[in-house]
């Protein structure tokens, strides 16, 4: 299945984002490799990943500066600054890679592992999973992995996380003493603080998922509508296509039959005379123009309860509601033929074309769609043969 999406999806997303956060979005877009922009879902996730990495870079920078300037113990500085610097450099390389080669999966897996290792390190230096407030953050890597890496990477990271927790449990049960750099007094407070952060992160993720789902649903419905339209209309003229017209005809016959004998309609068969020479002389493009003009004229001439479809080639079919009797049909036919016959402007100058119309009446001439169409078809051929413009079905016409 093709993964390509028409560019206006992406355009829409970019426009929407631009309205909200013009600066951030243009910075984020700078890092998006063109190969990521072929599919909306991938683009969306890549943009979120880049945003996350950018914020990470900023936060790491701030922490490094704080560690360097503020009066922390020497040991903290000695351990903290290299760790922060290495995370910052890795993040920078990931961003550069997304910009240069667009390797989304590698970047996302690396980010997930980075976050996992950072949280693990945090737990290890602050008293192990039983004591450390950072243990609550262990729920975060699986969430990230599901979002950025899909179900497979999500599963892997879940397994790794659970294994880590199990190891912590075994170590705790066996009275392993973890190093604890934090001062014990602040533990409950930082626990609450970390709990809040976890909840905010989870909310953010849920928000993104809900937003994305709504977006995907919208795109799906849009495609569904397009499929519907394409399946029911003729692409060139926008009129009902043959299948749609046949369905409408059967539907209408069933409806009118159930209402009673007083409801009737005329089925008209229209064939253009001299369309093939135009097509041959001026090319298919001009032929298409002529068909479009004729379709527009037919649409204009019909009432809302009428129905018109293109049967293929230069043939059209009309349902004219509540029309009966030769004189009324004749009047309508003359109107239609005059409308069709009037000169039209095309790209190769003025052209004019005439049509032949054949009519059959439901329920007078036939009771079912097949016979009705046959009757109208025969009437149309009679009109064509006699060069009379239009004709009304008579059972002896062969």
């Amino acid at each position: 299945m093709s993964d390509k999406v028409s560019p206006n999806f992406i355009g829409n997303i970019a426009m929407k984002a631009n309205k909200k956060l013009i600066n951030l979005s243009s910075i984020v877009d700078y890092f998006v490799h063109p190969s990521l922009a072929v599919e909306t879902d991938r683009l969306h996730r890549a943009r979120i990943l880049i945003t996350g990495l950018l914020f990470n870079e900023l936060a790491i920078g701030a922490i490094t500066v704080a560690l360097a300037i503020l009066p922390f113990p020497f040991m903290s500085k000695l351990v903290g600054i290299p760790i922060c610097l290495s995370i910052g450099i890795t993040t920078y390389f990931l961003l550069a890679m997304l910009h240069r080669s667009g390797n989304y999966l590698l970047a996302s897996v690396a980010s997930i592992l980075m976050s996992f290792l950072a949280i693990l390190a945090g737990i290890l230096v602050s008293g192990g999973a039983a004591k450390s407030p950072a243990a609550q953050l262990l729920a975060f890597p699986p969430l990230l992995a599901y979002f950025f890496g899909g179900a497979r990477w999500g599963g892997y990271i879940v397994a790794v996380t659970f294994a880590t927790i199990a190891i912590f449990y075994l170590l705790t049960v066996n009275n392993f003493q973890f190093y604890d750099a934090s001062d014990g007094d602040n533990a409950p407070l930082s626990r609450i603080f970390v709990g809040m952060i976890t909840m905010l992160l989870a909310s953010g993720m849920a928000y993104i998922y809900e937003y994305r789902s709504a977006e995907l649903k919208r795109e799906r419905d849009l495609e569904q509508r397009k499929v519907d339209r394409l399946a029911h209309t003729d692409t060139l003229t926008g009129l009902a296509n043959r299948r749609n017209f046949d369905a409408e005809l059967c539907d209408r016959i069933a409806r009118y039959r159930s209402v009673g004998p007083q409801r009737c309609f005329a089925l008209g068969y229209l064939d253009l005379d001299g369309f093939k020479p135009i097509n041959d002389r001026h090319g298919h493009d001009v032929g298409d123009e002529v068909l479009q003009v004729i379709s527009d004229r037919l649409r204009y001439a019909l009432r809302s309860s009428d129905f018109v479809g293109r049967h293929g080639g230069d043939e059209f079919m009309l349902i004219l509601d509540a029309l009966q009797g030769e004189s009324l049909v004749g009047k309508k036919a003359e109107d239609l033929l005059q409308l069709i016959g009037s000169p039209m402007q095309t790209s190769v100058g003025e052209l004019s074309i005439t049509g032949s119309l054949g009519f059959a009446i439901f329920p007078t001439h036939a009771q079912d769609a097949e016979r009705l169409k046959n009757a109208a078809d025969k009437a149309m051929y009679a009109a064509k043969r006699n060069r009379s413009g239009w004709s009304y079905f008579e059972s002896d016409v062969v």
Binding site: M1, S2, D3, V5, D41, A129, A130, K131, A135, L138, A139, P142, L143, Y146, F147, G150, A151, G154, T161, F162, I165, F168, Y169, T172, P188, R191, I192, G195, M199, A202, S203, M205, A206, Y207, Y209, E210, Y211, R212, S213, L216, R220, E223, K226, V227, L230, A231, T235, R242, R243, D280, R281, G283, H284, G312, G313, V348, G349, N374, D377, Y381
Partner: protein, 404 residues
């Protein structure tokens, strides 16, 4: 393998049992309702296990009376919600009730096990939050987040002001173990809900891509025969011309002889049947790398890849002619149509799409006129001959002629 399948099937049928018929109205609603039922069932099973564990292990000796009541109450609540889902089908109500139930359980647990400062239950607060996001959307999720923050803040202030929350003596004894258990439960809940979210998004994406594929297929094919329509054939042809350079390929214009009388005398339905059969035969006559299109009416176009010599093309033409010339069985009995083919070779005869098509068209007209079945475009002889015979419109000549 069989056991896991059986388990899965029985779980699915259990979910089906609790489904209200009204959920079937919308696919999205049904999907979320089923997940809610599955979640309630899982909770109930877990609670039942806890009850059994409490009954038969020594833990209940130490535990507080109040906290021991929590599990049965939760279990009954879940069961009631499942039955409401089955009988009344009130999805929204059940969602809200399930979220509130989960939130209340976590808070009661929090209060019963030492308050926000000490309780391991803090880590489970994300569960009702994520449930609210999934089942209720943005609005419920945000309200759940606010509610949780306010309540935790209230509890913290109460603690700070000196209200003491009773600590479960049993829990106090095995505090580290419980802390890690809570850590595991928190991670498991978040992972499960992330998995559900991801699954939902993937499902939607697949549906979208399927619809998109259908749309593309509809837009590119002729509805009657399933062949490429004129627009997509032209697009393919111009892509070929743009990418092939001087690599040769042939374009064939194919027009049926004797189709119009069939259409006129036997009706359009029969004409359509004939066109369908011809399309099938054409598709069978070409190789996988070639492309057949139907620009409309009784005309077809074939793009023949890497067919360079006239001998090759003649073999192909002969084969096609024989296959199409066989009687076609329609619902009104067998009919026969003939075929006229015109070939033009890129880049020998023309190197632009318009000229190439005109060359093939001209060759086809000559074949039709001379009743030879097929003909090749010849730049030097055919244009003069054609004009002399007056059988091809001047504009069809590739050198421009009368095209305004």
């Amino acid at each position: 393998m069989a056991a896991s399948q059986l388990l899965r099937r029985s779980f699915t049928s259990l979910i089906d049992y609790f489904e209200h018929p009204s959920f079937r109205e919308g696919a999205e609603r049904l999907y979320r309702a089923r997940i809610l039922i599955a979640l309630l069932l899982t909770f109930s099973a877990l609670l039942a296990l806890t009850l059994i564990f409490q009954r038969f292990s020594g833990l209940h000796v130490h535990s507080h009376g109040r906290s021991e009541l929590l599990s049965p109450v939760m279990f009954v609540g879940n069961m009631v919600l499942l039955l409401v889902m089955r009988w009344r089908g009130s999805y929204k109500f059940c969602c809200a009730a399930a979220i509130v139930l989960a939130g209340a359980a976590v808070f009661l647990g929090l209060i019963a096990s030492g308050g926000v400062r000490g309780s391991p239950m803090m880590q489970l607060l994300v569960a009702p939050l994520l449930m609210a996001y999934f089942f209720g959307g943005m609005r419920w999720g945000t309200s759940a987040l606010l509610t949780i923050c306010v309540t935790v803040g209230g509890l913290a202030i109460a603690e700070w002001r000196g209200v003491s929350f009773p600590q479960n003596p049993g829990a106090l004894a095995d505090r580290d173990g419980l802390q890690i258990l809570a850590c595991f439960l928190g991670a498991a809940t978040v992972s499960a809900i992330a998995c559900i979210f991801e699954f939902t998004a993937a499902k939607l994406k697949k549906e979208r891509d399927t619809e998109h594929g259908k749309m593309v297929a509809l837009a590119q094919t002729d509805a009657l025969t399933g062949l490429a329509n004129r627009r997509s054939f032209d697009a393919y042809l111009s892509r070929q011309i743009a990418t092939r350079g001087t690599y040769r390929f042939a374009l064939c214009y194919l027009d049926l002889d004797g189709f119009k009388p069939i259409n006129d005398q036997l009706g359009h339905e029969i004409g359509d049947e004939v066109l369908r059969v011809v399309s099938t035969r054409l598709r069978a006559a070409i190789r996988a790398s070639d492309l057949v299109g139907r620009p409309g009416g009784d005309e077809f176009m074939i793009l023949l890849e890497s067919t360079s010599t006239r001998a090759d093309l003649e073999i192909m033409a002969q084969r096609t002619r024989e296959s199409i010339g066989k009687p076609i069985n329609t619902s009104l009995g067998p009919v026969k149509v003939g075929v006229s083919m015109g070939f033009a070779v890129f880049p020998d005869d023309a190197d632009a799409i318009g000229a190439l098509k005109k060359a093939a068209d001209t060759a086809m007209y000559i074949a039709k006129h001379d009743r030879t079945g097929w003909s090749f475009y010849d730049r030097h002889s055919s244009s003069a001959a054609v004009v002399a015979k007056g059988m091809v419109p001047v504009s069809l000549l590739p050198d421009g002629g009368g095209n305004p």
